[in-house]
């Protein structure tokens, strides 16, 4: 059984982002970048399934500029067997990424495709569902528990009302929630070993996919700032303010 895991390079989740003064986007120069957090969960889960003897190969893929390859290298350092880097510059919408992934799936024929449920930069939450649509495969989104059965998965999904359990037949797509597992850290020997693992580089232009954006980002701005609040001296003052000033209790 083969698992393909898609990873994305994003601004590190601990970085307080800054909006560019000209309103064209957010500052990314000299900003720490890392793998999209739930994509780390996706890699971890795939590697765990392989370690349990239920998968034979884990392939990590990223789509993006030159430096995006770092995320694949990191996936290799925590246990993926080989990598694919589809090279493309500029803004990529989830629809374009899912079309590229579809081409790679056609070629690699994985039984499962894993990825994070959402990227923490554009917060779109689309790529996994779009890929399943294009492939006409079952989808298990927001997965917080995965159990591998015979040619199918039982997946527990985090939904607004609580938890939902579904069963999906191979081949299938799973998008991972942060609660799925605890991603491991790469050890130094494994980081060294990962340098020798192969990464196939494919120019997006070779795949015959139209990746031109359909959306125009007209402006990026800072959200309205909250007006500065006050510190109250004690609980009595707090309750009095809530009752008589804010009138909310």
């Amino acid at each position: 059984m083969k698992i393909l895991v898609a990873v994305k390079r994003v601004i590190d989740y601990n970085v307080q982002i800054r909006v560019k003064e000209d309103g064209t986007g957010v500052v990314t120069d000299n900003v720490k970048m890392s793998t999209n957090p739930p994509d780390d969960n996706a890699i971890e889960e795939a590697v765990k399934i392989k370690e349990a003897g239920k998968a034979t190969e884990v392939v990590a893929i990223t789509v993006g500029e030159e430096k995006a390859q770092e995320t694949v290298r990191k996936a290799l350092a925590v246990g993926a067997d080989r990598g694919i880097h589809v090279k493309v510059d500029g803004i990529l919408e989830p629809l374009a990424v899912s079309k590229i992934l579809q081409k790679i799936v056609d070629k690699e024929k994985p039984d499962l495709v894993f990825m994070g449920k959402q990227a923490i930069d554009d917060d779109c939450n689309q790529t996994g569902q779009m890929l399943s649509a294009l492939l006409n495969w079952p989808q298990a989104t927001f997965a917080s528990k995965i159990e591998v059965k015979d040619n199918k998965l039982e997946v527990t999904r985090e939904i607004d009302e609580g938890l939902e359990t579904i069963e999906i037949n191979f081949p299938a797509i799973v998008t991972c929630d942060l609660r799925l597992n605890e991603p491991r850290y790469a050890s130094l020997p494994n980081i060294m070993k990962a340098k020798k693992k192969p990464i196939e580089e494919i120019p997006a232009s070779d795949l015959g996919v139209d990746v031109s954006p359909r959306l125009e980002q007209l402006k990026v701005e800072e959200p309205p700032k909250r007006k500065a609040g006050i510190k109250v001296a004690n609980v009595a003052e707090l309750v009095q303010k809530l009752k008589n000033e804010a009138k909310v209790i």
């Binding site: 629809l95 689309q126 649509a133 298990a140 607004d160 579904i166 004690n234 707090l238 209790i249």
Partner: protein, 317 residues
């Protein structure tokens, strides 16, 4: 062309956020049709027809729609899409799961989680967990848009009488099987729609101590929230989580107790009308968004807070 709203329901009644999504849909175009897909959902369809902003209801029923599986729902919407300029749904887990599947079939680049309709093709949406707002113009012929429900007021729920048209079901998608749903039942108001939310963070130090939060919430008729740190520490279950990876809440009053205010938590609550922070660390980032900050040990402050609340003659519910 008209806008097609996808109704969210539980086969018995409409889910509250359908009303918020209906408001957003009506801001895109006054001609709003709504589709309801389910099983034995006639009562919910009737409720939908009573929304004054909805001009027509399309109802599709079959056993394989009982559990809202996206793989079954998407083909129904895709078939209807040719008559509509926009497909709209709320951006909760139902809509997030379903809409991209529709958009990909229609070869449309979806606009997710909008907080404002600027014009029929231009929308405002938060990115980077709400740390920036992007104005996005869609150049696709068909537009698939999901709505952040808390950013739109619910529409009127009575007074309308839209005709209900029944449509044929599409084929069942056989590779996905629903097993079970475990809904967390509670007598409290739902976190996403509560007027007051009382949240605890890692500062609570244990699941047992969350009882203190519960007492205040009971007194105020509030929902109980939590930071991701509190959930990860096992103090409380995940359905209480407020933040980028949990629920986004916009109550009239948000009380954050023992919550430091990580970026991802602020993303889920900073649009609340009034924010109270109780934390012993005066430098905690939560104070930067709080209207009323109290620098105090929560284990002293909470009992005092209860005492002061008990002194009040009346408490708004």
């Amino acid at each position: 062309m008209a806008v097609l709203l996808i109704a969210e329901h539980n086969n018995k009644e409409l889910r509250q956020f359908t009303l918020n999504a209906a408001t957003a849909a009506s801001q895109i175009d006054s001609d709003v049709h709504a589709v309801i897909i389910g099983q034995n959902a006639a009562e919910a369809a009737k409720q939908l027809s009573e929304l004054p902003v909805v001009k027509k209801v399309l109802s599709v029923e079959a056993a394989h729609y009982e559990n809202f599986t996206a793989e079954n729902f998407a083909p129904v919407i895709v078939k209807l899409a040719e008559n509509y300029s926009h497909i709209v749904c709320s951006a909760n887990t139902f809509g997030k799961n379903l809409m991209p599947r529709i958009a990909a079939h229609l070869d449309t680049s979806q606009v997710s989680d909008i907080i404002k309709v600027m014009s029929p093709d231009t929308f405002l949406r938060p990115i980077y967990a709400g740390n920036a707002f992007a104005t996005i113009k869609s150049n696709d012929i068909k537009k698939c848009v999901t709505i952040r429900p808390t950013s739109f007021d619910p529409c009127e729920s009575t007074g309308g009488s839209a005709p209900i048209e029944k449509l044929d079901a599409s084929e069942e998608f056989s590779n996905t099987k629903f097993i079970k749903r475990e809904e967390i039942k509670s007598d409290r108001p739902e976190l996403g729609t509560a007027r007051i939310v009382v949240s605890g963070g890692r500062g609570m130090q244990s699941g047992d101590n969350f009882k203190l939060i519960t007492e205040i919430a009971d007194k105020l008729g509030a929902a109980i929230g939590a930071s991701r740190a509190a959930v990860d520490a096992g103090y409380i279950s995940n359905d209480h989580q407020v933040g980028q990876t949990g629920k986004v809440v916009v109550p009239d009053l948000y009380i954050a107790i023992g919550i430091s205010g990580a970026i991802q938590h602020l993303a889920g609550m900073k649009e609340s009308k009034v924010i109270v922070a109780i934390n012993k660390d005066g430098e905690a980032p939560i104070f930067s968004v709080a209207d009323y900050g109290l620098e105090a040990d929560l284990f002293e402050a909470i009992p005092q807070f209860m005492e002061e609340l008990n002194k009040l003659n009346t408490i708004q519910k």
